[in-house]
């Protein structure tokens, strides 16, 4: 693979071709989503929207499509591919959940691995945080009503806003019906909330217990037993039944998905990078959550890789003015995700990797039930959320060093999400580690979901001050279009 040369001839202003790609994607997205809704829900969608008002919020995709402004060529196409996949898969997901409530299983963390198990049992996974995350991406203030509802019911305002939003949906009765609850979050603060879910919904609860010492053989063996115990419990408490052949197929698909993901990540090591920002974190949000183990997941990564290869062949960078290669440490800024475009265009900062996307790649040996359970256990115990919220500082910094070294990172953007206590408690040690390595680190206080804590303007100002005072950088442009 030859190195990409920076190519400043690529205009940040959209070309006719770029605009055509945008409008074509918008049309196709609405057509596909509309067709699914009409075919599977028909007029019932009107009563659905009345009962679950967040459905209406999902219809406005303008925030997605506005964010490609200033991005061109294959990079723009890659981002649009992801927006289209997000929108259409969320619609499929919501319709699935509404159609067969007796098969819906609530769980808490976009569980790499859990989705595969549930689907192989003929059950429908419902991640409680999916709707708040999508809401935050599309219309940041839309979650505030749910956060307020949770606080009115007694949830402390210092609890992670993602959890509070999900719980607010519950308290307002905007949760779709389900059959059981699984407490599986890597974040212990949130797994505790499953007590409230089960009580409020009157549903059976299963706690999937995760060791803190998660990256050991002993932990894998323990957790594999927990998974088997969960499957047995689900068999007793839901209409689902495990189809081991189906699980094998899903996990084989999952292995292919991981190969395709690694190919994409490998491209990101090039300087300057052929793709960046949303391509990394949205692909890791969509594929494991909605498409786990399906051929569509592989196709998604392949189409992203094709965009990357096109840029490589042409010698075009995602960010023609790449000056800094950044890792976003801690949660990506869902509520202000346009900040990544802002950083690219104004400061030449390309986000190359982020800690909530990056994890050890696990290929599951599908030769036996035992090996599948061990592989799933390893996969689930090595998810980013577990790495961030559990285990020791040594594990946490091992991941940090890996990303910095593998991707030749020269800037750390710390998304200092105010609701995450585990993150907050690591900032001191992280600051020390960055100083030891001579890495500039911008600690930006914000809230993952709640725009009231720090507005987009606040976040931009903090970055501007950091770039000007700490890095002594000159802006590439004064104002960024469509922000």
């Amino acid at each position: 693979m030859r190195a990409i040369q920076p190519n400043n001839s690529e205009s940040i202003l959209s070309s006719t071709k770029d605009n055509w790609v945008l409008w074509k994607t918008i049309g196709r997205t609405y057509f596909t989503a509309g067709k699914t809704i009409l075919k599977r829900r028909g007029p019932k969608i009107l009563s659905d929207a009345k009962q679950y008002p967040w459905i209406t919020e999902l219809a406005d995709l303008s925030s997605f499509f506005r964010s490609v402004s200033g991005r061109s060529g294959a990079y723009r196409r890659a981002i649009l591919t992801l927006f289209e996949a997000t929108a259409t898969n969320v619609v499929d997901y919501v319709v699935d959940v509404l159609e067969q409530p007796e098969r819906v299983v609530y769980f808490q963390s976009a569980g790499l691995g859990l989705t595969e198990i549930l689907k192989s049992m003929g059950l429908i996974p419902y991640v409680d945080m999916a709707i708040p995350v999508v809401n935050a991406l599309l219309n940041p203030p839309s979650n505030t009503v749910y956060m307020d509802a949770a606080e009115s019911e007694g949830v402390s305002s210092d609890i992670c806003s993602l959890g509070r939003s999900a719980q607010g949906l519950l308290f307002k009765g905007h949760y779709p019906k389900a059959s059981v609850v699984i407490g599986n979050n890597g974040c212990e603060g949130q797994v505790n909330s499953s007590l409230v879910y089960a009580k409020k919904l009157g549903l059976p609860l299963f706690i999937l217990d995760m060791p803190n010492k998660y990256n050991t053989e002993r932990a894998e063996e323990f957790f594999a037993k927990e998974l088997l115990r969960m499957i047995e419990w689900l068999t007793s408490n839901t209409p689902g039944e495990m189809d081991w052949n189906r699980l094998k197929e899903v996990l084989d698909g999952r292995n292919r998905q991981e190969e395709a993901k690694l190919e994409l990540w490998e491209m990101m090591r090039l300087k300057p990078a052929p793709l960046a920002a949303e391509v990394i974190f949205l692909s890791q949000l969509i594929a494991p959550t909605f498409l786990a183990g399906l051929p569509e997941a592989v196709e998604l990564y392949q189409s992203l890789c094709e965009c990357g290869m096109e840029n490589i062949r042409k010698g075009v960078a995602a960010n023609p003015n790449e000056r800094y290669r950044a890792v976003v440490w801690h949660p990506f800024m869902a509520v202000h995700f346009h900040i990544y475009r802002y950083l690219e265009l104004k400061w030449g900062v390309s986000v190359i990797q982020d800690s909530m996307s990056y994890s050890e790649t696990v290929f599951v040996d599908t030769s036996s039930v035992d090996s599948m359970m061990r592989g799933l256990a390893r996969m689930m115990l090595n998810t980013p959320m577990v790495n961030i919220a559990r285990g020791t500082a040594e594990n946490y910094f091992q991941t940090f060093e890996q990303i910095v070294d593998q991707y030749d990172i020269n800037l750390v953007l710390v998304g200092d999400h105010i609701g995450c206590k585990s993150v907050a408690a690591m900032t001191g040690l992280l600051r020390d580690r960055c100083r030891e390595r001579g890495l500039p680190a911008a600690f930006i206080p914000y809230d993952l979901i709640d725009p009231r804590f720090a507005s987009m303007s606040d976040v931009m100002t903090r970055f501007d001050q950091f770039m000007e005072t700490v890095l002594d950088a000159e802006p590439l442009m004064e104002t960024v279009p469509d922000i």
Partner: protein
């Protein structure tokens, strides 16, 4: 010893981490090991010259040093311990044993390891459900801790020394339970504040010395005392760890009499005898520990509720105060669920947020007073 002197001994122990009994034990060559959670079994820290001290930060004024690493949204208990550690106030300890009680404490242990650098640090990984699988995990955890303690301190921890420690523990528990039983009386001879002082002292000094010197004597004094009559309502306090009897004192100053508790530094979940069900001492300790109905345990809210309801009935409790450290995620949801169950059972409930260091007394008084009045007392 006169009554005032007995209570003064308890107070001295509570006020000073290096109190007279700790100094006496250290002078005799014994090594104090600090621990943070009731899921760290004291038994393992009570053998062959070791003795356990629950980590506390009495009289702490602020957490200026700790705040560099643990910001204000981290629970003030963790920040206070770190402050004590960074100030060198725990340099007399032979080591620190943490449990992964919650993510706050987990990160506190990371910072202690990196910044305070005690000579011995171990983090136990007690899980959050009680099943055969998690008990087996806990046995392995205890075995690892046992080996590390043996190697580092060159002490002999074997089945015999563990059985002796279990017997000592059960003896101590039986005395405390006798004191606790007195709280069921219409006019108990002790207040909740006094009981909490005894409990806190038992965590802050070697139990053998405490038992021999003051606890038995205190029990004798109680037998001869008149009961407390001037109270407006019988209360129970539940929630997270609380080692400052000052909070109970404020509740009682407002006319409540705290006759029952359900938090790990109190009597119900923290102090039960260890059974004789199995022969392997580590398994006995693991089963005993994992069965504790603590808010960090996620599969036992029914057990906790039954235990709370039983205490309410036995101690004839009129109202329940659920207290929690501000920013505690576990207690937020435990408190919500428990309050809802209790209200369904028509039991008056007050939820209180507090800091580790006794503060906000005025607000606390007002809320407790209003609560007692709302109970029609």
């Amino acid at each position: 010893m006169p009554e005032e002197s007995v209570m003064a001994v308890f107070q001295e122990i509570i006020d000073h981490t290096q109190n007279a009994l700790v100094r006496e034990a250290m002078d005799a060559g014994r090594i104090p090991i600090g621990y943070t959670c009731s899921f760290v079994p004291e038994i393992l820290l009570s053998v062959d010259g070791l003795f356990p001290l629950r980590l506390r930060a009495p009289g702490i004024g602020g957490t200026q040093l700790a705040d560099i690493y643990l910001p204000p949204i981290i629970c003030s208990y963790c920040r206070s311990l770190l402050e004590y550690g960074m100030n060198g106030q725990y340099d007399f300890l032979g080591g620190w044993v943490f449990n992964h009680s919650c993510q706050h404490m987990n990160r506190c242990s990371d910072v202690v390891k990196s910044v305070v650098k005690p000579p011995f640090v171990h983090v136990l990984d007690a899980l959050h459900t009680c099943t055969e699988n998690t008990i087996s995990w806990m046995v392995d955890e205890l075995r690892e801790l046992k080996e590390k303690l043996s190697n580092h301190f060159d002490v002999s921890i074997n089945d015999d020394t563990l059985m002796t420690a279990i017997a000592d523990h059960n003896r101590f528990v039986s005395v405390i339970q006798r004191i606790g039983e007195l709280r069921k009386l219409d006019h108990p001879p002790l207040t909740g504040t006094e009981f909490q002082k005894v409990m806190t002292a038992s965590l802050a000094a070697p139990k053998d010395l405490l038992l021999g010197r003051v606890v038995k004597e205190y029990l004798d004094l109680l037998q001869a005392r008149e009961g407390v009559r001037d109270y407006r309502g019988r209360l129970m306090v539940l929630g997270g760890a609380m080692d400052d009897p000052g909070y109970i004192e404020i509740i009682e100053e407002m006319g409540g009499l705290v006759v029952g508790d359900h938090f790990c530094t109190g009597s119900v979940p923290g102090l039960n005898p260890i059974s004789n069900e199995t022969l392997d001492p580590l398994e006995r300790i693991a089963r005993h520990t994992m069965a504790k109905p603590c808010p960090r345990m996620l599969d036992s809210i029914d057990v906790r509720l039954r235990s709370v309801m039983q205490t309410i009935e036995d101690h004839r409790v009129d109202g329940v105060i659920i207290q929690q450290l501000k920013f505690c995620d576990s207690m937020t949801y435990y408190g919500m669920a428990m309050a809802e169950y209790l209200r369904e059972a028509k039991i008056p409930v007050l939820r209180l947020d507090r800091e580790y260091r006794l503060s906000g007394e005025g607000q606390l008084r007002t809320r407790v007073q209003a609560f007692i009045e709302s109970m029609g007392r």
